[in-house]
Each structure stands twice: as C-alpha cells, then as structure tokens.
C-alpha cells in the first residue's frame, strides 16, 4: 500500500477539465437528437401507423436488446466496410449517432408510457375543439407527457454522459480517453482514474440539482 500522489492528482484536474466540453458536447447533441427521435417513435407507438409499427418495434427491440459498446463498434468499425460513404465518419460523429439511436429506444418507451399516462379527458377536449391529431399531440398531449417523463429522461441523460466515456474506444480523446493517455504516461492508474471518476461524479450531481429545478418548473401549472 502506497500513499496517493495528491500533487499529481491536482495537476491532472485542469488537464481532464479541458476535455469536459467535448464530453458534454457529445452528450448534449446526442440527447437533443434522441429526444426528437424518441418522441417520433413514441407517438408512432401510440397511434400505430400501419406498415410502420413493426419497424419501430424492431428498432426499439434491437437497440434495447444489444450492448451500447457493441452498437458503437458496429457503427464505427463495421458499417464502413459495408456502406462506403461511412468511411468518412469520425469517432465523435459515430459516438453521437450510436448514443442517439441507443438512448432513443429507451426514451421512446418512457415517453410512450408518459403519453398513455395523460388523462383521456385531455385528448377528448383537444378533439372536441377540432384539433388535428398533430396539433393535439404537439400542444396538449406531449407537453403534459413531458412533465411525467422528465425525471426518467434526466436519468437517461445522466446515463448518456457516462456513456460518452465509451467513445474513447473509437479513438476519441474525451475525458476518459485523455485520462487513459495520462495514466499510461505516468503509470499512476489509480490516481488518474480516481480523478476522472470524481469529475464525472461532480457533473452528474450538478445535473441532479438541475433536475429538481426543472421539476419545480414543470410542476408550476399543477400546483394548487
């Protein structure tokens, strides 16, 4: 048992912090894309477009049923061998695509459940004033479903931030990749990975605080 090299750890913090923007960039872009895709998938699951439904079921089943790491490898190393134009794709783009598809499958289920949780009377009121299906979804049902789904979606966002660490396996130097490089230079693996673990932890805890404020905001309309 040896003492921790605290000076080394403190010196490492600013180095890894420099890669926080890339980590957050991947997570935020993937989350935004996944929210849009998941909403579309969820609405389809609720209204059941004939001929499309089985495809959506298959998509959700595949991306929930296989590991994220396998999906990332399939995208980055596998697909370019089959589909030519994908050879241009870089690690960051591949990671964002993989995270988007993977998490949209999970989030679609959460949003679908939230949509069915919106009271039936809200649908009928929207129909009674002559809204089209799309207007009803956009203006009445989805905003109310968002409140129900918000805590779950924030959890997925947290998972996604942690999931970006897998991008280092695609050669992306983000927080995890940078730490790996530093550690293999200094051989102080424990110190290096402890620092990066603590930094991830701080980011996630900050988000948890944000979640509480988001919930207060979303519950504003429902306070008695």
């Amino acid at each position: 048992m040896r003492a921790l090299d605290l000076d080394y750890m403190l010196g490492l913090v600013p180095v890894i912090l420099g890669y926080v923007p890339l980590t957050l960039f991947m997570a935020v872009v993937a989350m935004a894309c996944a929210l849009v895709l998941a909403s579309l998938l969820a609405v389809e699951r609720v209204v059941r477009v004939p001929g499309l439904d089985w495809l959506v079921v298959l998509f959700i089943s595949f991306f929930r049923g296989t590991p994220l790491l396998v999906q990332l490898f399939l995208f980055y190393y596998g697909l370019p061998q089959v589909i030519g134009f994908l050879t241009q794709i870089n690690g960051v783009t591949a990671a964002i695509m993989g995270l988007t598809l993977h998490f949209s499958a999970y989030m679609a289920e959460a949003i679908r459940a939230a949509i069915t949780g919106v009271d039936r009377s809200q649908w009928e009121a929207a129909q009674s004033i002559g809204m089209t299906q799309g207007q009803m979804m956009r203006r009445i049902v989805l905003p109310q479903a968002a409140r129900i789904a918000a805590p779950t979606l924030v959890n997925y966002f947290i998972d996604m931030i942690k999931g970006t660490s897998l991008a280092f396996t695609l050669g992306v130097t983000e927080m995890m990749g940078a730490t790996q490089k530093e550690a293999s230079g200094s051989f102080l693996y424990f110190e290096a990975f402890l620092v990066v673990a603590i930094l991830y932890w701080i980011i996630v805890e900050t988000l948890n605080q944000g979640q509480k404020q988001l919930e207060t905001h979303l519950n504003k309309a429902y306070a008695r």
């Binding site: 009377s121 809200q122 129909q127 004033i129 809204m131 009445i140 109310q144 309309a221 429902y222 008695r224």
Partner: protein, 243 residues
C-alpha cells in the same frame, strides 16, 4: 339549423342509440333528460364524433356528414361547428384559464394571438373570472373550472353548444354559479343541446325537453307539456323518481 337522422351507435352489438331523429332550430335550447344509461351522453358525443356513430346523418349549419362514410375532414368540420362542455370540465391542464379559451381560436381557427387574447379576456369577464385569467386549472375550484370550460365553448361562437351533464361532477355549492352562467348563455339565444338532471333549470330555460329511454326519443315537447303533463308511462315513472 341542425338536422339529425337515424343516428345509431352500437357498443358490442347493443344499440345505445337506436335511430335518433332530431331537429334543432337556430337559437333553440333543447334539454335532454332520461334515466342513466339511455344514451343521452352518447347522443352528444356522437354529434361531434368523440364516439363514432355507426349510421345516420348529421347536418349542422352548412356541414353535412354521413356517419357511415365520414372522412377525417368531415369529422374536423363537425367538431369546428360545435363546442362541447364536459362533465369533468377537461380543461387543458398545461394551460392557464386564458390560454384554455385562446387555444381553439389560435390553433384551430387561425385567429391572430392578440385578437384571441382580447376575446378570451372578454369571455372571462362574462364568466366572472377576469381575475383568474392567469391561473392554471389545478388552482381553480370545480365551479370555476367549469365556468372556464363553458367560456372555452362560448368563445368560438359555434353553431351548436353541447353540454354533457355540466353540473353532475360539481360539489353542490358550485352548481348554482354554473347554472347561472348557462342561463346567461341561453339568454343570448345560443343554440344549445343540454343533458342534465337539473329539472328546475330545464323548466326555466328549455324551449323543448326531450325524454330519452333505451336509445330512443320517447317523448318531446315544451317543458310545461313534457314535465307537467307527461303522456308516456316511462316518462311519468322517471319524473316521479327525480322530483
């Protein structure tokens, strides 16, 4: 002018509406009474396709729909020619009182926002809820919610307003204020079709009372005839029970 012919609705093979014929003149106020489970609510819900009728024709103003072959466009046209007041209010939970009233004007009828807002505030004034314009439904009492619900239905100036037992879900203390508001709507000669158990109210404001049983219209006429001198035995039995 509203003209309904042969309106039929079956749930699992049972006819809940069994060929309803009903004409309503412009400005006429019609109250539907009858035992529960006789299709009164279903009649209202079929008129705007919240429940899809199996057969029959519906004409409201210049909209004419054959239930058997109604398209999406027909259904939207019918819903835009009518407005609906729900038993459980069904205000949009994510919108304020004012936004609830503006929603149909802006989203469905393409009115400019500022015009819709003026109209919403005007209607809220008529319902006596001007100071609640920015309150969300959850912060309103049942009576206030239902008054906003009626305001939402008033604002669009529909050819026909449908009221589905608007006071049945209310605590007794709020019934009076909702009936008062409906009286004021009736005074404006708005065409109304009202399902209610409030017999005194029916007597006061109805031009015609329709008694339904078993999915059919059994007897109809001016309130003094139907309520004071009922001919049909089933109607007499019903009136004895509710009075």
């Amino acid at each position: 002018m509203i003209r309904v012919r042969g309106l039929t609705k079956r749930f699992d093979g049972t006819a809940v509406l069994d060929g309803i014929d009903l004409d309503i003149a412009d400005g006429e106020r019609v109250v539907v009474i009858g035992p529960s489970g006789t299709g009164k609510s279903t009649l209202l819900r079929c008129l705007n396709f919240l429940d899809r009728p199996n057969a029959g024709t519906i004409e409201i103003g210049d909209v004419s729909v054959d239930a058997a072959k109604a398209t999406k466009r027909d259904i939207l046209a019918l819903r835009r020619a009518t407005s609906f007041v729900f038993q459980n209010y069904a205000l949009f939970a994510n919108k304020t009182a004012k936004e609830n009233i503006m929603e149909a004007l802006v989203t469905v009828h393409d009115r400019p926002r500022d015009e819709a807002e003026r109209r919403a505030l005007e209607v809220l004034g008529e319902t006596g809820l001007a100071e609640k314009a920015d309150s969300y439904p959850a912060a309103l009492s049942g009576g206030q919610q239902q008054r906003v619900g009626i305001g939402r239905a008033m604002a669009i100036g529909a050819d026909l307003m449908l009221f589905d037992e608007p006071t049945s879900a209310l605590d007794p203390e709020w019934v009076g204020e909702v009936l008062d508001l409906m009286r004021r709507v009736a005074e404006q000669r708005q065409t109304m079709l009202i399902v209610t158990h409030e017999m005194q109210f029916a007597r006061e404001i109805a031009d015609r009372v329709v008694f339904m049983e078993g999915g059919r219209i059994v007897e109809e006429g001016p309130p003094q005839e139907v309520l004071e001198a009922p001919r049909d035995e089933r109607l007499r039995r019903f009136l004895r029970r509710v009075s």
